[in-house]
Amino acid sequence: MVPAAVVQQSEIDAKVREVEEALKPDVRHIRYEIGEDWSGQWAIFFRIVMSDEAAKLRLREVATNVVWRLGERLDFTSLGVFPYHNFRSESEQAILREEAWA
């Protein structure tokens, strides 16, 4: 069965943008996709690009804050997905230039 998250993407987009704004300049942007995890469970995969300074000096502080704020605004249980979070710095993304993270 398709989770509620699939049909509520505009609401999710809005909440994600709120978190982005709240955490600037440490967080440059947040991208996400909904799909199945390794075990076949529905999940939402967040890709977070951080400033170089945040990644180098305050990685855990900022990462924990991102995870907490997303969880505060999005009810993952109701959305039927488990959240996963991955991070990279701005300069790493500038080198790797992956569209999914841009």
Partner: protein, 153 residues
Amino acid sequence: MAFADDLLKDAHHLAARGGNNPKQSSLRRAVSTAYYALFHLLIADFTANWGVIGERSRLGRMFEHRKMSSAVLKLQDKNNPTLVEIELKKIVSAFTQLQEDRYKADYDVGWIWSRTDVNNTLAIADEAFKTWRSIRKEKPVQHHLMSMFGARH
């Protein structure tokens, strides 16, 4: 717990290899090893309860990755979790994140790891080790460990 601690140290060692230009192979092994460190930490604690020391490794091999992450965390009062339950929830989230990361590291060759992401993964594992050791003897924690083994509620 020496084996789990050694694995976690290995993960850090692998992540630090290559200076500013790490190989994907080192980063991938670091992520995978961090997951297995936590996996073996939990298993070692579970099997330590088994009286026949020589059979503990066999018991440990009965753990399944999928069952461990899909075990449902039962809170006494979901609107008012205890401090131990809050900490346990963090470990469950850390384990699930590390498990997905490990899958990507071992099987998804299209996924490119960055040093930042790997450092974050290792920090999650470090925190999970520390938290686990502070609450491991608590009743709800042992109960959830039994659920991770596959026991029904």
